[in-house]
């Protein structure tokens, strides 16, 4: 059974600081997605990582994937309040080229002005 663990589960950080969220998973996969969820809202796709060494950046967020270590990171640079949300990684173990994702536990990020 695939297990996807994120840490930390909660993160409170000041504006302007840098931090990294980690996503570890238990079985082989080279496809991983990151999502953002605002309180009471639905999920928004952030990044799609489809190979070992993949790196994607959008604004103050950068995601990477190391399939050998079964690890993905979401790095936050110079955090701003608008980044406050819950971030989920989702590991794709679908067969035949189709998606079947298992979501992590989520990391609730609070950026303090």
């Amino acid at each position: 059974e695939l297990k996807v663990e994120q840490n930390p589960l909660f993160l409170s950080m000041q504006e302007g600081k840098n931090y990294t969220i980690y996503c570890n998973y238990s079985t082989t996969s080279d496809r991983l997605y990151w999502y953002r969820q605002d309180p009471g809202k639905s999920l928004e796709s952030l990044f799609v990582l489809l190979s070992n060494g993949a790196v994607k950046q959008e604004g103050r967020l950068m995601a990477s994937l190391d399939t050998k270590a079964r690890l993905s990171t979401l790095h936050i640079t110079a955090a701003v309040h608008d980044l406050s949300a819950t971030y989920f990684c989702a590991v794709d173990r679908g067969a035949g080229g189709y998606q079947k994702v298992t979501f992590g536990t989520g990391t609730k990020l609070q950026v303090i002005p």
Partner: protein
């Protein structure tokens, strides 16, 4: 372009009652997913449709849950009878294809409370 539409947004029922959720995916999206999200957790896949065919329902509790997507467009998820543990947010998502890397677009969800 309209996003994924779900209704109702909120539903409160007593245990043992039936309940149904409706989802209309983004136009042109062949793949439709139903997820359940418990409080403080990530979504869990219940069922995936490719057009009108349920291609992955391995995690759907079939004793009380059922789903349909009759014309390959909108879909209904039903619970009968509901139990206290079914309280959760039910999310519908769609993608153009179900292929790896294809972005999933999520609806706002239906928050179910079973009393």
């Amino acid at each position: 372009e309209a996003g994924v539409v779900q209704s109702p947004r909120y539903k409160i029922i007593e245990k043992k009652q039936p309940v149904a959720f409706w989802c209309n995916p983004i136009s042109g999206h062949n793949t439709l997913y139903w997820y359940r999200q418990n409080l403080g957790q990530g979504p869990e896949l219940l069922i995936r449709y490719e057009n009108e065919e349920a291609v992955d329902d391995s995690q759907l509790p079939k004793d009380r849950f059922s789903a349909e997507r009759l014309k390959g467009v909108d879909s209904t998820l039903k619970i009968q009878p509901a139990e206290l543990g079914d309280s959760a947010v039910y999310l519908c998502a769609s993608s153009r294809t179900g292929l790896a890397g294809d972005e999933q677009f999520f609806g706002p969800g239906t928050r179910l409370t079973v009393l």
